[in-house]
Amino acid sequence: MKKYNVKTGISYPKIGAMGKTGTWRIFKPILDKNKCIKCLRCWVFCPESAIKRRNDSVEIDYDYCKGCGVCANVCPVKAIVMAKEER
């Protein structure tokens, strides 16, 4: 990444700037790929960019998913359900 020589505080982009926010989770979204109709609603609404999209398929990045449950709620076919996080 290009670094800039300026006389002020400058921050650089980083995935996980606040660490692994997946540790915040109390409930965990579980995706059933067989039910998924690839509508991408979970992807577009995830406030965390924690749903990864490959073409039209989706995958949850548990390192950063905060467990808000928005994805489960917007899924039209209930392909995502929330389960208690176990650690």
């Binding site: 400058i10 700037a17 606040m18 577009v44 995830c46 808000c68």
Partner: protein
């Protein structure tokens, strides 16, 4: 634009400091997908300045200037002037500010930037409170809503900022809501082809601020539109037109849901329902919604 055609690139990176269910990151993701990487953001003091995360890192993958609470639009004017001088006017100059930073403390700077015809897009994500400092009332807080500075419910009605902006004769102004990303995407895209000051305000239901469960951000925005409490419109070339469900409501093709359906799900309005139903204040809310609609319909017919 259909969701499947949204760019795959993420400019709001995972592992940021936003609350779970945050409407700011939800909206900003779509906005930056529409704008693309040739964008400079200006962010005043607000939740989003914190969401960016701690020095020396940032969770935003576009150049971002943090500036004092009241100064976002002035800073954007400066950036736009500098880019003009450099001959780099294909870069989007964008402000992303909260409602406190827009309706209240940043209004003078915004008015000045519009008057100077700054070539920029000003976006207010409106969570109807000063959320970053712990839920204080703003000029955007609706009547009767609880905040930490209106413990019995706000006594005043919210400011109609849309009309203030329109009074500046901007080439483009619009409202949107995080629950309708296609609509938001299209509106942001449209601004990219228009020179001069553009304004978009996005309704941003905030789980801790409005007191609802963090999985309900999208529903809360949808209900605001479906009950008519939030109106989706575009103002372009001096014409106002309604969009989405608001268009159907205006044309009488969609009967708005009772506003109670929206109020009841938010803890900030719970005092309107218990110990008993506060008919007087609920009716005042309904009257205000009706009057706002009548007024905007009149504007649309001009």
């Amino acid at each position: 634009m259909a969701i499947k055609d949204f760019p795959i690139e993420e400019y709001v990176l995972p592992g940021n400091a936003a609350c779970p269910g945050c409407p700011s990151t939800m909206g900003l993701r779509t906005v930056l997908k529409a704008l693309g990487k040739k964008t400079i953001l200006t962010i005043p003091a607000c939740c989003t300045a914190v969401i960016q995360s701690w020095y020396p890192y940032t969770s935003f993958n576009v150049p971002t200037l943090n500036i004092a609470f009241e100064a976002a639009a002035s800073a954007a004017s400066g950036i736009a002037a500098a880019l003009k001088k450099l001959g780099e006017e294909d870069i989007n100059v964008v402000v992303w500010a909260g409602d406190g930073g827009t309706y209240d403390i940043g209004l003078q700077a915004l008015s000045g930037a519009i008057e100077r015809q700054t070539n920029f897009l000003y976006i207010c994500y409106n969570n109807q409170i000063y959320s970053n400092t712990g839920i204080q009332r703003s000029g955007a807080t609706p009547y009767a809503a609880w905040t930490t500075t209106t413990v019995k419910g706000k006594k005043e009605f919210r400011k109609d900022i849309g009309e203030i902006i329109i009074a500046h004769h901007v080439p483009y102004a619009a409202t949107a809501c995080v629950s309708y990303p296609e609509d938001l995407y299209n509106k942001v895209k449209k601004t990219m082809g228009i020179r001069g000051p553009k304004y978009i305000e996005i309704l941003a239901p905030c789980p801790p601020g409005w007191r609802f469960s963090m999985d309900k951000t999208v529903e809360m925005g949808k209900l605001a539109v479906e009950t008519g409490a939030w109106i989706l419109y575009e103002y372009e070339n001096g014409k106002l037109s309604f969009n989405g469900i608001s268009k159907s409501i205006a044309e009488g093709k969609y009967k708005p849901k009772p506003v109670e359906d929206w109020l009841k799900l938010q803890g900030r309005f719970s005092h309107l329902f218990k110990p008993e139903k506060d008919i007087v204040r609920i009716n005042a809310i309904k009257d205000h919604i009706r009057d706002t609609w009548e007024h905007y319909k009149k504007l649309a017919s001009l």
